[in-house]
């Protein structure tokens, strides 16, 4: 009788304890509010990962297909677009190239547009895609290399593939005024192509020759300034390329490393531009010919207007890519493939603000 009483008492206690526990349910989180410094890190592992750079906490993942080099970001609509390739049997089968649209809140695909199966893959490159727009149209451009070069044009509003523009001799896409885009050409010129809203070519002009592909090629990894694009050559000439009334304007701004022989610009994403302070950031290393993809050991701060180097930041580990947030309390990011990490620095104070590790080999860095 006593033991029955004891068991009954224990059961009552257990039931009481259970009723006091909050009911836990499974589910999933959403990114309802993006942190101020949200960094989108493309990787070699077909994943793009999002981090809060202030806390170094991971926010989520966008899983992509082959050749998703970078994203076109539309913060107002809360979406991103990327060009990617899918094979029906993983490494074989039917190839389909698409522009996929992902919802930033869920990091999930919400639509896709089939494009010509000519999108290049390989080492990541920021400027295989770009968006041009005017008051009524928004066109996404995808560079094709088969190795013949052309550009696929997609209307993001009607979500249709409009056209393929042959661009023999010139490649990549650098969005310019309204529905026009710049390209670089092997003959040492830039090319400006203007489209109409149907994706048809209206005009095409080339600049004068301003670099020599054989002796000092123009690197294809510029940063966008307010006026246009800031390019550099392998040897350190810095050009600003702008457009005005359908014409291309090239201006040699300055030479980097003239007073420090042997320092070169290099890496996968070696140039960034901080618009609020008009500061050009260059990933630099010591090396000679053929070192244009070597990781950088320093980031040089350069006043774009004067060409003056105002600071040289020594990186804790060599980096392949740099990026900078576009706010007053900006953060400078430096991604290292070999160390599988992104270093974070306060742009103004140059003090380290932490490191993001175990990423999956970071490539192109983007602000979100």
């Amino acid at each position: 009788m006593k033991s029955i009483f004891t068991i009954t008492l224990l059961c009552l206690l257990a039931m009481n304890a259970r009723s006091e526990l909050p009911l836990e349910t499974y589910g999933q989180l959403t990114l309802d509010t993006l942190p101020q410094h949200t960094l989108l890190i493309n990787t070699f592992s077909h994943n793009a990962v999002l981090f809060n750079a202030d806390t170094q906490q991971m926010l989520g993942t966008i899983s992509t297909g082959i050749g998703a080099n970078a994203f076109e970001v539309d913060r107002k609509k809360g979406i991103v677009h990327t060009a990617e390739t899918y094979l029906s049997r993983h490494t074989r089968g039917q190839r389909t190239d698409v522009i996929s649209t992902y919802d930033i809140r869920t990091l999930s695909p919400i639509g896709e547009i089939t494009i010509a199966p000519k999108h290049p893959s390989g080492s990541p490159m920021r400027h295989y895609t770009g968006i041009v727009k005017d008051t009524e149209a928004e066109l996404m451009l995808v560079a094709n290399i088969t190795p013949a070069m052309s550009v696929s044009v997609v209307d993001l509003q009607s979500r249709t593939f409009l056209s393929e523009i042959p661009t023999a001799g010139c490649g990549l896409v650098y969005p310019s005024e309204k529905l026009s885009f710049l390209q670089l050409c092997g003959d040492g010129r830039a090319q400006l192509v203007t489209l109409n809203r149907k994706g048809e070519e209206l005009s095409r002009v080339r600049s004068e020759i301003f670099f020599d592909l054989e002796t000092d090629p123009l690197m294809e990894k510029p940063a966008r300034s307010e006026a246009g694009w800031v390019f550099n050559t392998f040897h350190g000439k810095v050009f600003q390329v702008t457009t005005e009334a359908g014409k291309i304007k090239i201006s040699l701004v300055f030479n980097v490393g003239e007073d420090d022989e042997g320092w070169r610009i290099g890496g996968m994403q070696p140039v960034a531009f901080h618009v609020p302070s008009q500061l050009l950031l260059l990933l630099m290393h010591q090396g000679g010919e053929n070192t244009h993809k070597d990781p950088g050991t320093e980031v040089w701060y350069i006043n774009l207007a004067t060409g003056a180097t105002t600071h040289r930041l020594s990186l804790a580990v060599p980096a392949n890519s740099i990026q900078v947030s576009q706010d007053e309390s900006a953060l400078l990011y430096a991604g290292s493939i070999a160390e599988d990490q992104v270093q974070i620095y306060d742009l103004k104070t140059t003090v380290s603000r932490g490191t993001i590790s175990d990423i999956g080999l970071p490539t192109i860095l983007q602000n979100l």
Binding site: I66, G67, T85, L87, H90, T91, R92, G93, R95, P120, S121, G122, S123, M125, I145, T146, P147, A148, M149, A168, G169, C170, G171, L172, Q183, L184, C185, G186, D187, L213, P217, L218, M219, E220, N290, T291, H292, K293
Partner: protein
């Protein structure tokens, strides 16, 4: 004329034409011609350039093809097929060689000559992941594809899945 002598003459002619074309023709023109040449290599193995690739043993060789410092790899960017079940000039079993490719020019330390190297990617399997090697001698930006090693050159193949890269000697640079 002995067959060998004839082959040598044809060899020199083809090499000279290739180098001259690479220098003088427009990118598109060169690409068109070189692309046909590369397709030709895969289809007609008796062509002189193919013969040069086949007769590796006649080349004086120094170095380890599984080492990134091996002389032929001066402009390579990818996984070395010699570490993946293939060799410096052959794809691993089941991997399809790309008929279209980028080219470099590397100095062979064994004889001091510069050779034209065709960096054919091998395709149709997942990335090998072994012996990654990136050297950029003469590499040009991606807007000039014939001399760019960033691009996945698995084009003209059944699929564009990249597996590894080879370095095939296709001629002597006599410039």
């Amino acid at each position: 004329m002995k067959p060998d002598a004839l082959i040598q003459i044809v060899d020199k002619w083809v090499t000279a034409r290739t180098v001259k074309s690479a220098r003088q023709l427009s990118r598109r023109h060169f690409l068109s011609r070189f692309g046909k040449l590369m397709v030709g290599i895969s289809l007609v193995p008796v062509l002189p350039v193919a013969r040069a690739a086949e007769t590796r043993l006649q080349l004086p060789e120094i170095g380890d093809p599984q080492d990134c410092d091996y002389w032929r790899y001066c402009a390579i960017d990818g996984y070395l097929c010699s570490c993946c079940g293939g060799s410096e000039s052959k794809c691993p079993p089941g991997a399809e060689p790309s008929p279209v490719t980028w080219i470099g020019t590397c100095e062979n330390p064994a004889d001091g000559k510069r050779y034209i190297i065709s960096y054919n990617d091998c395709c149709g399997k997942g990335e090998c992941g072994r012996c990654f090697c990136n050297r950029n001698e003469g590499d040009k930006p991606a807007y000039y594809p014939p001399k760019n090693n960033d691009i996945n050159w698995c084009v003209g193949t059944k699929t564009n899945a990249y597996h590894c890269s080879t370095a095939v000697v296709v001629g002597v640079d006599e410039s």
